[in-house]
C-alpha cells in the first residue's frame, strides 16, 4: 500500500513537471466570419512578423485547424509564450447554395461545404485540447445565438478560462454592450482585429487569462 502511495506521488510530480513544460494552447473559437483569422493574423504580425491564414468575406474561409507555435508576447516587462490555434467557425447549418450565391461555381461550393462540415467537427474535437480560449464574436451580430452559448457553455463545463472578444468595433452597427449583457460573467474586450483598435487591451487581457 505504501509503495502504491509513493508511486502515485511520483506520477503526480512527473505529470506536473511535464504539464509546466508543455506550451499553453490558446484557441480562437467562435462562429464563422467573426474575425478569428483576422485576429490571429494581427497577433502573428505583431509578434512574429508574418500572417497565419487567409481571410475572406465568404464564410468558412478557415476549414482546417491552424497552429502557430511559440508566440511570445510582451507587455509591461512580462512575457507570455503560447501556441496559437485558429479554428474553423462553428455552425449548425452549412448550405453549399450559400456559397453559390456568394459567387462560387457549384463544384467549388460543394467542396467548400464538405470541408466546412469537417472543419466544424474538428473544432469541436479540439475543445478538449485547449488550455485557454479566446471566443471571437462579431459585435454587429446577435450575441444570443445558440452556437455562441454552446461554445462558451462547453468551455465552462471543461473549466477552460475564457476571454470574449467583441470584434469589428470599427463598424457602425457594433454593439459591445449587448455582448457584455449576454455574457456578464466574462471579461469582454471590444477590438477591431482589422485595424488594431484596442489591441493592447486585448494583449493585457491575455496576461490575465493565462496565469
Amino acid at each position: 500500500m505504501v509503495i502504491g502511495i509513493i508511486k502515485q506521488f511520483i506520477n503526480k510530480v512527473l505529470r506536473n513537471i511535464f504539464k509546466n513544460k508543455k506550451k499553453v494552447k490558446l484557441g480562437l473559437y467562435g462562429p464563422p466570419n467573426g474575425g478569428k483569422t483576422t485576429l490571429a493574423n494581427r497577433i502573428c504580425q505583431d509578434w512574429l512578423g508574418e500572417e497565419m491564414g487567409s481571410v475572406s468575406n465568404v464564410a468558412h474561409e478557415t476549414r482546417e485547424i491552424q497552429i502557430k507555435e511559440q508566440i511570445i508576447i510582451k507587455s509591461k516587462g512580462k512575457e507570455l509564450a503560447f501556441n496559437l490555434v485558429d479554428t474553423p467557425g462553428i455552425a449548425t447549418r452549412i448550405d453549399y447554395e450559400d456559397f453559390i450565391k456568394a459567387g462560387m461555381k457549384e463544384k467549388e461550393a460543394k467542396k467548400r461545404a464538405k470541408e466546412a462540415t469537417k472543419g466544424v467537427i474538428d473544432s469541436i474535437k479540439w475543445l478538449d485540447e485547449m488550455d485557454t480560449v479566446v471566443v471571437v464574436l462579431d459585435s454587429t451580430k446577435d450575441p444570443y445565438s445558440q452556437v455562441n452559448i454552446t461554445i462558451i457553455g462547453n468551455l465552462q463545463a471543461r473549466n477552460i478560462p475564457v476571454l470574449i472578444i467583441a470584434n469589428k468595433v470599427d463598424l457602425k452597427k457594433s454593439k459591445i454592450k449587448k455582448v457584455q449583457a449576454a455574457f456578464p460573467q466574462y471579461d469582454v474586450i471590444g477590438i477591431s482585429g482589422k485595424y488594431g483598435t484596442n489591441i493592447d487591451k486585448f494583449y493585457e487581457g491575455l496576461f490575465t487569462l493565462v496565469k
Binding site: 462553428i90 455552425a91 449548425t92 447549418r93 452549412i94 448550405d95 453549399y96 461545404a113 462540415t117 469537417k118 466544424v120 467537427i121 469541436i124 474535437k125 475543445l127 446577435d142 444570443y144 445565438s145 445558440q146 452556437v147 452559448i149 454552446t150 457553455g153 462547453n154 465552462q156 463545463a157
Partner: protein, 134 residues
C-alpha cells in the same frame, strides 16, 4: 404540407445514453419536424448534436437551427438563492426547453433572454391551374 411541431417530453430521452438522445432528436429534425424538447441537453451533448449534424449534412439535409431557453429568475437575496439552488438540484436538465428545427424549414431562431422568434423559410406554392370548361 403544413409545419409539423413534435413535442418530446424529457421523460422520453431521460434514460437514453448521450449518443442515442442526440440521434433521436436529430432523426426527427431530419424528417422535417420542428422538435420541441421539454428540458435541455447537457452542454457536451449540445456540442455532440452540432458535430453529428455536420456528419449528416447532404444536399437534402442542410443542418439545423437550435435554441435553448432556460429561464433564469433574478435572485433577490440569500433565501432566493437557496430556493433556486434547490430547484436546480431537483429539476436539473428538465428546466426550460429546446427547439431544434431543420435548416431547410427554419431560417433563423432569434433569441432574447425573454422571448424567442422563429423565422421559417417562405415556401412558394404555385396555384393550381383551373381547368377550362369546354
Amino acid at each position: 404540407m403544413g409545419l409539423v411541431l413534435q413535442f418530446v417530453p424529457y421523460s422520453e430521452i431521460e434514460d437514453l445514453g448521450p449518443a442515442r438522445r442526440v440521434n433521436k432528436l436529430l432523426d426527427m429534425a431530419k424528417e422535417n419536424k420542428i422538435v420541441l424538447l421539454g428540458g435541455r441537453l447537457k452542454q457536451e451533448e449540445e456540442a455532440d448534436l452540432i458535430a453529428i449534424t455536420m456528419e449528416e449534412i447532404s444536399s437534402d439535409f442542410k443542418g439545423i437551427e437550435l435554441a435553448v431557453i432556460n429561464p433564469k429568475k433574478k435572485e433577490n437575496g440569500f433565501f432566493d438563492g437557496i430556493k433556486s439552488a434547490m430547484i436546480n438540484k431537483l429539476l436539473g436538465d428538465r428546466q426550460g426547453f429546446t427547439i431544434i428545427g431543420p435548416a431547410t424549414i427554419v431560417k433563423q431562431i432569434k433569441k432574447d433572454p425573454d422571448k424567442i422568434e422563429l423565422f421559417t423559410k417562405e415556401i412558394s406554392v404555385k396555384p393550381k391551374k383551373k381547368k377550362k370548361k369546354s
